[in-house]
């Protein structure tokens, strides 16, 4: 396939979002509030990891470098990662995680639904498979947001704090960077801003049922799609890449 650098940048953003969030969710295993959640969060991590693994080789083909999934995940420096800040933030409490998961999986649901019509057959194929997965992720998160929002006094307070905590990271998710604008123009991708209204109204409906408020953020994160990351990202990569980096050229 001929090199399509601008589509490559777009798809890389999707892949990196999935990869980094899979890494964060993997941290929950052995740390969840009950065994069922160790399993559920592991399952979601696995799905996201699968999405990233399906997308990375495609990026390597689009950008003409032929890089493998591990070239992307294990041997790339922080400045070359294109994920949003939302997914790289440190693991918080379970309420914070459910807030992040609700937003991210609702976003992914609308994204993949739109990508079913992508002119890139690999992308539409990945979207078709992933759509079923992210529906489940969103339902799972919504279930917990409602339970925690409308549970005890403490859980309400914590769940509200969790929702408030992700607010600054949302504008970036719906920001039209150059790569997504080009990808949308080429019929390959969609403008993130086009998903904003639907996603927000779906999250708002869950929040209403959960007796929670959806506020406006006092600042907003920027730059993930341009490789400008927040503090936790460097540490995440150090941990994720250390063994692979320590054995150059090895296969596993």
């Amino acid at each position: 396939m001929a090199a399509h650098p601008s589509s490559a940048a777009y798809v890389l953003g999707l892949a990196d979002d999935a990869m980094v969030y899979a890494q964060r969710l993997g941290e929950w295993m052995t740390n969840a509030p009950q065994l069922e959640e160790d399993m559920a969060l592991g399952n979601i991590a696995l799905d996201l990891l699968g999405q990233a693994r399906a997308l990375y080789p495609h990026v390597g083909s689009l950008d003409g470098t032929g890089r493998s999934e591990d070239d992307f995940a294990m041997l790339r420096d922080e400045r070359d990662w294109r994920n949003v800040h939302l997914v790289e933030q440190e693991r918080g409490d379970f309420g914070q995680e459910m807030a992040r998961l609700l937003w991210f999986s609702t976003y992914q649901r609308e994204l993949y639904a739109a990508l079913l019509g992508s002119s890139d057959p690999v992308l539409s194929g990945v979207a078709g498979k992933a759509l079923k997965e992210v529906r489940y992720h969103g339902d799972h998160a919504a279930l917990w947001v409602v339970r925690l929002g409308d549970g005890t006094e403490e859980s309400h307070r914590r769940m509200q704090a969790g929702l408030d905590g992700v607010l600054p990271y949302l504008p970036e998710l719906f920001f039209d960077d150059d790569a997504s604008v080009a990808a949308a123009a080429a019929g390959i991708g969609v403008r993130p801003s086009s998903l904003h209204e639907t996603v927000t109204s779906q999250v708002a409906a869950v929040c209403e049922e959960a007796t929670l408020d959806l506020l406006a953020p006092s600042w907003r994160a920027r730059g993930g799609r341009a490789g400008i990351h927040s503090k936790p990202m460097g540490y995440l990569l150090a941990e994720m890449q250390h063994i692979a980096r320590s054995h150059p050229g090895a296969t596993w």
Partner: protein
């Protein structure tokens, strides 16, 4: 009395005891203790490998590892459910684990120092677990036997994955080969200890073996299982190119088995007593996750109660 003789008849006929059946209290208590310990081992056993999820050296390995740790959580769930059929609930069993009143397999008190340890755990630890567990698929208590059938199927899959990790390392760089050999060196003896103290001699401890055998809970002695394990693993080690760390290990044509060197039972008892590398760490992490999750579990209960109340109201 009637209850005892029905039970005895089922046991004698090698039939399954089911939750509705009457059973001697000692049988029930023995099973609760054993199943709980087994369940605890599954969930504590998530930690040594869980520790490597964020650091797995390739995405394929990361995916396999997440799935494996997930399976272990699933095994814990089956087993707690089996224990619950005996009239004790999961929350109570977890409390006993957290308070140190019930044990988990001592093997998980050894540390996972390198990526190769994920291979060694799959190959040796899961291998030993299968050897212990296959006979339990014919255990006299129905729910336990059925849980073990599911568990064993997945465990043998894990064992092959562990073998494959080591296989790749042994065919990799010099550093990778050294890593695999080092992991085998550290895990071999603890894996042999997983079958428990010897059946006889100084290190033997009068356990529940005879009674468990009579009740159809246990089917083979510790030493028999250990020997079967050694006999199975030696050819696999040869295939891998790994040298097992026992100079006395050799084929004994007369016995039709491999002879092997003496096990350091002092170490076994020491680690069992709580003085192992990771005892404190494992239980601390378990407790922390449980405590940090308390508000979530409470909220789930409170929400369910609210929903039930609403339904009742709207039905009225």
């Amino acid at each position: 009395e009637q209850v005892g003789s029905d039970f005895d008849a089922l046991i004698a006929a090698d039939q399954r005891i089911e939750p509705r059946d009457a059973m001697p209290d000692e049988y029930r208590q023995t099973l609760i203790r054993q199943i709980a310990q087994h369940a605890h081992s599954e969930i504590i056993g998530m930690q040594p490998e869980g520790n490597w999820i964020t650091r797995a050296p390739s995405l394929r390995r990361k995916a396999i590892l997440i799935a494996k740790v997930q399976d272990e959580a699933g095994h814990g769930l089956y087993l707690y459910s089996a224990a619950e059929t005996l009239g004790v609930d999961r929350a109570e069993l977890l409390d006993r684990l957290h308070e140190g009143k019930q044990k988990y397999s001592s093997i998980f008190n050894y540390p996972t120092l390198t990526w190769a340890d994920c291979g060694a755990i799959g190959w040796l630890v899961d291998g030993a677990a299968i050897m212990n567990q296959v006979p339990l698929c014919r255990c006299s208590y129905g729910p336990y036997a059925r849980a073990m059938i599911r568990v064993c199927k997945e465990e043998s899959f894990h064992q092959r994955q562990g073998f494959e990790i080591l296989w790749n390392l042994m065919r990799g760089t010099e550093a990778q080969q050294a890593m695999a050999q080092d992991a085998a060196d550290r895990w071999w003896w603890p894996a042999l200890m997983m079958f428990g103290p010897p059946d006889s001699g100084e290190a033997a401890k009068g356990g529940h073996t005879a009674q468990s055998m009579a009740w159809g809970i246990k089917r083979f002695s510790n030493d028999d299982l250990r020997q079967k394990f050694v006999d199975m693993m030696v050819p696999q080690a040869e295939k891998l190119g790994i040298v097992l760390p026992d100079p006395q290990l050799r084929w004994n044509a007369e016995r039709g088995h491999y002879d092997f060197g003496p096990i350091d039972w002092d170490e076994f008892w020491r680690v069992l007593r709580g003085d192992g590398a990771c005892n404190a760490e494992r239980i601390t992490q378990r407790r922390r996750a449980h405590e940090e999750g308390a508000w979530v579990r409470e909220a789930a209960n409170a929400h369910a109660a609210k929903q039930a109340a609403k339904q009742k109201e709207s039905a009225a």
